[in-house]
């Protein structure tokens, strides 16, 4: 059995205006292993924060079970759960200094003063806050406050570390730094972590596995490459990265390979895990980087509709057989940017073609 298991979890709230019930979390099952870093990813309102609050104990599930280390903890209040949470707003106690903030939970456990001091020192080093012990929170920068919030949770050595969009209040540069920090610390301590974000890059770079949620349900659970390369649903393909969807008609099925008629050309793609028959319509995912622009030898003829030069790469919108495709060209040997209405050859990279399983 997994370390932390969410089993058929349901959470309903009384709807706005007191009428009826609204289901924020709808039969979710997730298994999280010890030491694993799992991210709940989805657009706002998808139920990811509610799920995290259910795990933390700030809300109690309407139905289903939360099992931690073999114990059902459904209605256990948050202070009795061996977990610690890092909040989006940091929620640092404004009337306590850095040391007192971090030592807060240890004092509740009535540990001897020297043990508290030692533990706090260790976590201060880990989060690179040494020397700031006596600072009041309002004398800290955003990044430092974030570190205090993290240190305060880490010092508890909880069974599970919960993080609710902890980086969303930081500026882009700092966010990148803290992202690496969090991953480093989590790896050092091997602490089981559940992380909530709507930022796919955070999810991809931090997690061992990503749980993509939409409308209270799970769309897909998988490692970052799985989620990106083999999205199970159109929602996942669309939410993670940018995607072109094109319809195709199956013309032949040959073991692991399927021949599909796409925009008037035959392409061969890996078969999805379901039965396909000839003549069936399927949806293909064409990532912008899986399309090549070539002077000669293109499968299609495309017309540049719009281009945008970004330095390391060029983004194009190319019209192919009446459909506009987003293409990124990052080949450093391409020194010119094709102008509007330029006709160019287009190639799909075979290995990157992907048929949606649903």
């Amino acid at each position: 059995m997994s370390f932390l298991r969410l089993e058929n979890l349901v959470k309903e709230f009384v709807g706005r205006g007191g009428e009826g019930m609204v289901r924020a979390v709808d039969h979710i099952t997730v298994d999280i292993e010890k030491g694993e870093f799992v991210t709940l990813l989805g657009p706002s309102g998808c139920g990811k924060t509610t799920t995290l609050r259910l795990i933390a104990g700030f809300e109690f599930p309407t139905d289903g079970r939360i099992i931690l280390d073999g114990d059902v903890i459904n209605q256990q209040p948050p202070n009795q759960r061996d977990m610690a949470m890092v909040f989006q707003s940091y929620a640092i106690f404004p009337h306590l200094n850095v040391f007192e903030n971090i030592a807060y939970g240890l004092k509740i456990q009535r540990l001897p003063a020297n043990v508290i001091k030692e533990k706090v020192q260790r976590v201060l080093e880990l989060t690179e806050l040494t020397g700031l012990e006596n600072r009041p929170p309002n004398a800290l920068s955003g990044g430092q406050q974030q570190r205090v919030a993290l240190a305060r949770a880490l010092v508890m050595e909880p069974k599970v570390l919960l993080m609710d969009e902890p980086l969303s209040n930081l500026d882009a540069k700092l966010r990148e730094v803290m992202r690496t920090e969090i991953r480093r610390i989590q790896q050092t301590l091997g602490i089981t972590s559940v992380y909530v974000t709507h930022d796919q890059i955070e999810a991809m770079t931090l997690s061992d596995r990503v749980v993509v949620m939409n409308q209270g349900r799970i769309e897909q659970i998988g490692t970052p490459p799985e989620i990106y390369r083999h999205p199970r649903t159109a929602f996942v393909a669309d939410f993670i990265g940018t995607t072109n969807f094109v319809d195709g008609t199956v013309t032949a099925v040959d073991g692991d390979l399927v021949t599909v008629d796409v925009l008037g050309q035959s392409l061969v793609a890996p078969a999805p895990p379901r039965d396909l028959s000839v003549g069936q319509t399927v949806k293909l995912v064409l990532r912008p980087e899986a399309i090549e622009l070539v002077e000669t030898g293109g499968q299609y003829e495309g017309v540049v509709h719009w281009s945008s030069y970004m330095g390391s790469l060029v983004e194009y919108e190319i019209e192919v057989a009446g459909q506009r495709l987003l293409v990124t060209d990052s080949d450093p040997r391409h020194t010119i940017v094709y102008p509007k209405n330029h006709t160019i050859g287009v190639r799909m990279i075979d290995e990157c073609l992907y048929i949606l399983p649903e």
Binding site: M21, V22, D26, T49, R53, A91, F93, G105, I108
Partner: protein, 777 residues
């Protein structure tokens, strides 16, 4: 602030009736996981039930029945529509309807002009870039800390028959029939000045939080200033204007002090009710008229709460927006400033007349300087000054506790009945105090036994739920404890007062029983927790002993005070002896309730083996105390005055609590819970330190409300507990306007000292952070 939970728009699932019930029961089960919170909810509910719902209910009922006291025994208790029939009866009809018409006219006029003045003032302070905005602000607030008829007294001093302006400067000779200050017009004038700070504060808060970007956006689209005001500013402020109109209307109808002083030949309902009780001693008439007054008040109150508040576009709970656009057109700016300055001068003039009037020998006739009125105030009136200040001060923490509990319940917790709690806790401060006062007379002269039993049952049942884990154990505790307690009260004693009331020995006996309970608790508790279990029970036992013997001490102090020299010292010392009695000699029922509540906190610490037995003993002692004699006969005691004060200021106290709580992000408390702190620890270490300064700063307005309240208290003051506002009224009735002015001035100064002291102490203990406290209501 981001909402803590995100909710998608899934189709709502339908639920059956029983599932709905189960959900609601579960809510309370979750709430009850936190013992303190649940106890808090229980205390608040009992308070609201006993001192708001029950009195109002009894007043309504009383209007339809001939009272038991002071009437022909054959008629007593019979159903009667006599006083409602007067609205049809040709003999009484004209007068009855005249009173209703005048009352409503007064309400509408006061509300209209008050809102207008309030708006002009708020607009001037926020938008017109005036010098000394702080001064404008503070002077506007003066009426909120003045006794309810200070303005009326001042108006009579300035514009009355011997008024400085009317008589001395303009030389008007008032002959019978000449339109003088007394009457509906004078009353409305006085009420507008007294109450316009209410709409001023509301509209000011709205204007402060009005995002100037909206008006700038309209401006950038080419709209003219007037067009913007008509299409953007005004519609956005309409809910605020409507809200303050309704609020003022309710306040005006509830006002008793001003109508008694200045309404002349006009009679309004609140005064008519007062005279029915205090002049005719006719409870039924007073109650019937109360219902007539309650109908418009309640309608508008509900309308204000549930319609206007929902339509508000601007949330007044947020922080003020940074930039404010100021009016540039000089003619608009100067007309607003001009009108405001005029009103300001009037207010200042009125208050100066109070100061000058109180120091004048015989106003209008012999205008020489004299301290004689202050001599009277500090001799004859000394007791009322001490008593009122003391009772107001004692009521403040009680109001504060109830207020913060209601605030926590309503903004941080979710449970069925939350809306009702919010509604009723506000209602007690909004209904005319006269009605509440009559309700207190009816209920607390001889409290209805069902009410006492209901409160006892609620406490005892929750008590039993912490006393034992299984239903059988709980039933045993409740049945055994109640039966023994009830049996004790039925033991033969003197006359019909019950045994406990007369024989001090019984209190020693109960104390001894509690001592046994303490002993059991000692054996039943682990060593490190004994401090939490044995001590409270011993304190209860000690208190019973103290309760019995302190009577003699208090009497001794009182007798000693008589032998002291001078006129003031004996009064001060005897007041102190009464004040000691407030703490050491509570009524038995209040003691019973307190013991039960203390028991609820103590029991969970005791081991499961002994807990049930300790619980049974505690319950039987509490039951005996609760049910002995005539429970909850509070009329004539200081407690009913204290509770009445707390009820009247409850909306202010709740507001103080809400404002304080909204300063802290809920996730700060969640962070504490997530780090392992229970609700109690979180409250003590996180919530309280963060909330306290703002809360105390807000509570000072509750204290001011206590000091200045009249309408409910006027029925409750006794020769032993004399109330300043009541004293002022009788001074006026004896024609001593200057004496009334002197009393009013003393009252205002006491409130100002209290405010100054609070901010001084808060500033000292908090250093810089104290400056962040919002001085506004």
């Amino acid at each position: 602030m981001k909402p803590t939970t995100q909710i998608n728009t899934q189709p709502a699932t339908s639920r059956t009736f029983w599932q709905e019930i189960a959900r609601r029961v579960n809510e309370f089960r979750l709430l009850a996981q936190d013992n303190i919170l649940m106890t808090g909810l229980l205390i608040v509910s009992i308070f609201v039930f006993l001192f708001i719902i029950l009195p109002l209910f009894e007043v309504i009922v009383q209007g339809f029945f001939v009272p038991n006291i002071g009437t022909n025994p054959d008629e007593a208790g019979k159903f009667s529509l006599e006083y409602f029939a007067r609205y049809i009866d040709p003999v009484y009809r004209t007068h009855a309807w005249n009173v209703v018409r005048d009352t409503l006219t007064m309400g509408v006029l006061t509300a209209t002009f008050g809102t207008l003045f309030g708006f002009i003032f708020a607009y001037t302070v926020i938008r017109c870039n005036i010098p000394f905005p702080r001064l404008f602000h503070v002077i506007t607030l003066l009426p909120t800390i003045s006794p309810p008829f200070a303005i009326a007294v001042a108006a009579i001093l300035l514009f009355g028959r011997n008024g400085l302006v009317t008589h001395n400067w303009l030389g008007i000779e008032f002959l019978p029939g000449v339109n003088d200050i007394y009457g509906l017009d004078g009353l409305v004038f006085v009420q507008v000045i007294t109450f316009f700070s209410v709409p001023y504060l509301m509209l000011r808060a709205m204007l402060e939080r009005f995002d100037p970007a909206m008006e700038e956006a309209a401006l950038s689209m080419g709209a003219s200033k007037f067009h913007i005001f008509r299409t953007i500013t005004l519609p956005m402020l309409t809910p605020g204007l409507a809200g303050s109109f309704l609020l003022l209307f309710v306040e005006s109808l509830a006002d008793l002090g001003n109508p008694l002083l200045i309404s002349g030949n006009t009679t309004v309902l609140s005064a008519e009710i007062f005279l029915a009780i205090n002049g005719e001693y006719n409870q039924q008439k007073g109650a019937a008229l109360s219902l007539v007054l309650l109908i418009p008040t309640l309608t508008l109150f509900i309308f204000q709460n549930y319609w206007v508040k929902r339509r508000s576009y601007i949330s007044v709970t947020g922080k003020p927006t940074g930039g404010q656009i100021t009016v540039k057109e000089p003619w608009i700016r100067w007309s607003f400033i001009g009108v405001s300055a005029l009103i300001l001068t009037l207010v200042l003039g009125l208050y100066s007349s109070i100061v000058v009037g109180s120091l004048t020998k015989l106003w209008g006739i012999d205008n020489s300087f004299s301290m004689k009125y202050f001599n009277i105030v500090f001799n004859r009136g000394l007791e009322s000054i001490i008593d009122t200040t003391f009772l107001s001060a004692v009521a403040t923490p009680i109001a504060g506790l109830i207020g913060i509990l209601v605030a926590v319940m309503t903004i941080r917790k979710n449970f069925s009945g939350k809306a009702a709690l919010d509604f009723f806790s506000n209602l007690g401060g909004a209904v005319p105090g006269t009605i509440l006062g009559i309700g207190y007379i009816i209920v607390f002269i001889q409290a209805p036994l069902w009410g006492v039993w209901l409160v006892y049952a609620a406490l005892a049942l929750y008590f039993s739920s912490v006393a034992a884990t299984n239903t059988a154990g709980r039933a045993v505790v409740v049945a055994l404890g109640t039966a023994i307690g009830y049996f004790l009260t039925r033991l033969p004693g003197e006359a019909d007062t019950g045994a406990l009331m007369t024989f001090g020995n019984w209190q020693y006996a109960l104390a001894a029983v509690l001592f046994v309970a303490a002993l059991l608790a000692w054996f039943g508790t682990s060593a490190e927790k004994r401090r939490l279990t044995v001590t409270p029970i011993l304190i209860m036992a000690l208190f019973l002993v103290l309760h019995n013997i302190s009577g003699a001490w208090i009497r001794a102090i009182f007798i000693w005070s008589r032998s002291l020299p001078g006129t003031q010292l004996p009064k001060i010392v005897s007041s102190v002896s009464d004040q000691i009695g407030v703490f050491l000699q509570p009524t038995f029922t209040l003691m019973g309730f307190t013991f039960l509540t203390a028991g609820i906190f103590t029991l969970p610490q005791i081991g499961p083996k002994m807990r049930m037995w300790v619980a049974a003993i505690l319950l039987s002692v509490s039951a005996a105390l609760t049910l002995v004699g005539e429970p909850l006969t509070l009329i004539g005691t200081s407690y009913i005055i204290i509770f009445a004060y707390a009820v009247r200021s409850l909306p202010a106290s709740v507001r103080a609590g809400v404002a304080a709580l909204q300063q802290i992000d809920p996730s700060i408390e969640e962070a504490s819970a997530s780090l392992g702190a229970n609700a109690q620890y979180t409250f003590r270490r996180i919530t309280l330190p963060l909330v306290l300064p703002a809360f105390i700063a807000g509570l000072i307005f509750s204290f001011a409300r206590h000091m200045t309240s009249l309408s409910a208290i006027i029925f409750l003051s006794t020769p032993k507990w004399r109330i300043l506002t009541v004293e002022i009224l009788s001074a006026v009735e004896q024609g001593g306007m200057s004496l009334a002015a002197a009393y009013s001035l003393v009252l205002i100064v006491i409130v100002l000292i209290a405010i100054g002291l609070t901010y001084f102490i808060l500033g000292r203990t908090l250093g810089n952070s104290g400056q962040n406290i919002d001085f506004n209501v």
